[in-house]
């Protein structure tokens, strides 16, 4: 009995002193969580960068990542390194995420000649190849609307048209993409400030800050924003490795994305992919502040119109005809 008592007293001793297994686990997990919250975000992420990174540390680093506009240069560099490593893990591609700032004295504008557009959809194809949209479910930024000649009722348009050749008889075509409004309703609708207008006039999204509420999609009168309902699917061969933080870097499930006039190209002086792919030369792009630019010539000399201009969104995307 004495042995039994002593055994019992030894076994129950930790209970009395408050060190049961359950309590130990609880305290341990709390301490671990606290360590992760107070130190894990920065320390682990920094360590991860030095050591080449791991999935867990990158996840923690991404979790504590700040808004793009609030991050320092070093923090952005760390975020970019994390995104590149994540892309390698997810897609098996060595992508390069750029962070080119807006060019001073440049505001981008776009014009599209509706009498030249024949509805070939090359712009749509090139846009997908350039901007790393998900292939399944398929996401496309440009909708080419087919309308009856003489008609301008967008509600009667069809963007799933499939004739043998284009232009189909009695039809005309109106490609619609993000109009990069000067007074954008989408940025006003965002409850967390994850989308904003850059100094060069382009509306961008911080995909890490977006909460996926889709208010911006409801606010956009041009149906220009797309939502990732599922994890984007892209093969390593399809992925464009030349990306920009605010444009065509890989997106996540549950975030909104949109056309950015191919920021990764245009901020380096290059033309958007849709313009280069257009076989009819219907698209004109340039700097609105340069009086000698192509776009300014079109705006000054052609009869131009803007879609739903009565809404006061002031789009920087014009349509014109010859």
């Amino acid at each position: 009995m004495a042995d039994e008592k002593s055994q019992t007293s030894q076994a129950s001793a930790p209970v009395k002193s408050g060190f049961s297994r359950r309590k130990l686990l609880r305290r341990g997990s709390l301490a671990g969580l606290a360590a992760m919250i107070f130190g894990g975000g920065s320390v682990v992420a920094k360590q991860a960068t030095e050591e080449g990174g791991s999935s867990f540390s990158d996840t923690v680093g991404t979790l504590f990542q700040d808004h793009y506009q609030k991050m320092s240069k070093e923090e952005i560099a760390e975020a970019i390194a994390r995104i590149e490593r994540q892309a390698k893990r997810d897609y098996g591609a060595d992508i390069k995420v750029g962070n080119e700032p807006p060019i001073p004295g440049v505001v981008f504008g776009y014009a599209l000649n509706v009498s030249k557009c024949k509805g070939v959809r090359k712009c749509v194809e090139a846009c997908m190849a350039e901007n790393n949209q998900s292939r399944d479910p398929q996401i496309q930024y440009i909708r080419v609307l087919e309308l009856d000649q003489g008609g301008m009722e967008l509600g009667l348009s069809n963007h799933y048209f499939d004739s043998e050749t284009v232009p189909a008889k009695g039809k005309w075509y109106l490609p619609v993409q993000c109009h990069q409004c000067e007074n954008p309703p989408c940025t006003n609708a965002c409850p967390v400030g994850a989308t904003w207008k850059e100094p060069d006039g382009v509306i961008v999204v911080d995909y890490n800050w977006c909460i996926g509420c889709r208010f911006c999609m409801a606010a956009c009168p041009y149906w220009a924003r797309r939502f990732n309902w599922a994890d984007p699917k892209l093969s390593a061969e399809e992925i464009n490795t030349d990306t920009h933080y605010l444009s065509n870097r890989p997106r996540y499930r549950g975030v909104v994305e949109k056309c950015t006039y191919c920021l990764q190209r245009t901020r380096k002086g290059r033309l958007p992919a849709c313009l280069e792919a257009c076989p009819t030369g219907a698209r004109v792009f340039g700097n609105l502040l340069d009086p000698n630019s192509d776009i300014r010539y079109v705006l000054e000399n052609k009869t131009v119109f803007r879609l739903k201009s009565d809404l006061g969104t002031d789009p920087k995307f014009w349509y014109f005809s010859d």
Partner: protein, 261 residues
């Protein structure tokens, strides 16, 4: 209604005179145009006349409409040369001056691919563009010679409005700065995959495609295109998914409620 009725318009002597003058000018041009071109071909204009004509062409009132700028004031540009892509250049390999056949005919043996559809088929090779006996160059309306690489100048003799748009970037296609113009990729896959660094720019040096890059000069209207793939429709939104099924008719909400009761 009175203002736009035919009776009122015809009663206005000024309008009638203007109308008659316009019709008269057009008919004179229609009658004497071919004779004039024939006379020009027989008696080519002298150097002074050519210069005068060129000046008139470049500074014409028609060239000054819109922004008030002439094509000389357009920003500088380079053009993708045409000669490297020409199948039979130089032309005088075959077009020997001694054996030149200037008769109007259907070209069955020499250039079977050429279709004379430009201007509704009313032009013959030497009427408008080609320059016998020197077939390696083109001839402008004013008798000036124009190289094949600069054929946009020739097109502008008639299509001056389009030409002006093209000079300023309102028509045609800007392909950007290329060190080797032959390397300009023409399909989107090429420039997206292989030639990423050889892509056009919206600023800096302009490189434009010549008119003939898109328009066949003998049949210039753009031919129909084949379509790119149709966008996929999200599941549940396919065409016909909301239509009633033949075997199991789709019941409206009031039908279902009615059955329960």
């Amino acid at each position: 209604m009175k203002l736009i009725s035919g009776k009122t318009r015809n009663n206005n002597p000024v309008r009638l005179a203007v109308l008659l003058a316009l019709v008269g000018t057009a008919s004179v041009g229609w009658f004497f145009g071919p004779l004039l071109s024939e006379a020009l071909a027989k008696n080519p204009p002298g150097q002074e006349e050519v210069i005068k004509g060129l000046k008139a062409r470049n500074n014409s009132v028609r060239g000054r409409i819109n922004s008030g700028k002439t094509i000389e004031e357009a920003p500088g540009f380079k053009v993708k040369p045409r000669q490297p892509s020409m199948e039979f250049y130089p032309c005088d390999d075959c077009h020997d001056q001694d054996s030149m056949d200037k008769r109007v005919r259907i070209l069955e043996e020499e250039h079977p691919k050429i279709k004379f559809e430009h201007g509704g088929g009313r032009f013959w090779c030497y009427d408008a563009c080609h320059n016998p006996p020197d077939m390696n160059v083109l001839q402008g309306k004013w008798g000036d010679t124009i190289g094949f690489n600069e054929s946009y100048k020739l097109c502008g003799d008639c299509h001056f409005e389009r030409q002006k748009d093209w000079y300023f970037g309102g028509h045609g296609k800007r392909v950007g700065a290329f060190s080797d113009p032959k390397a300009i990729p023409l399909t989107y896959k090429e420039f997206l995959v292989k030639d990423r660094e050889k892509i056009g720019t919206w600023q800096g040096e302009r490189v434009l495609l010549n008119c003939t890059a898109c328009h066949d000069p003998h049949s210039p209207s753009i031919k129909p295109y084949k379509l790119s793939p149709v966008p996929l429709v999200r599941s549940g939104l396919e065409k016909g998914s909301h239509e009633p099924h033949a075997a199991q008719p789709h019941l409206q909400i009031w039908d279902r409620l009615g059955k329960k009761h």
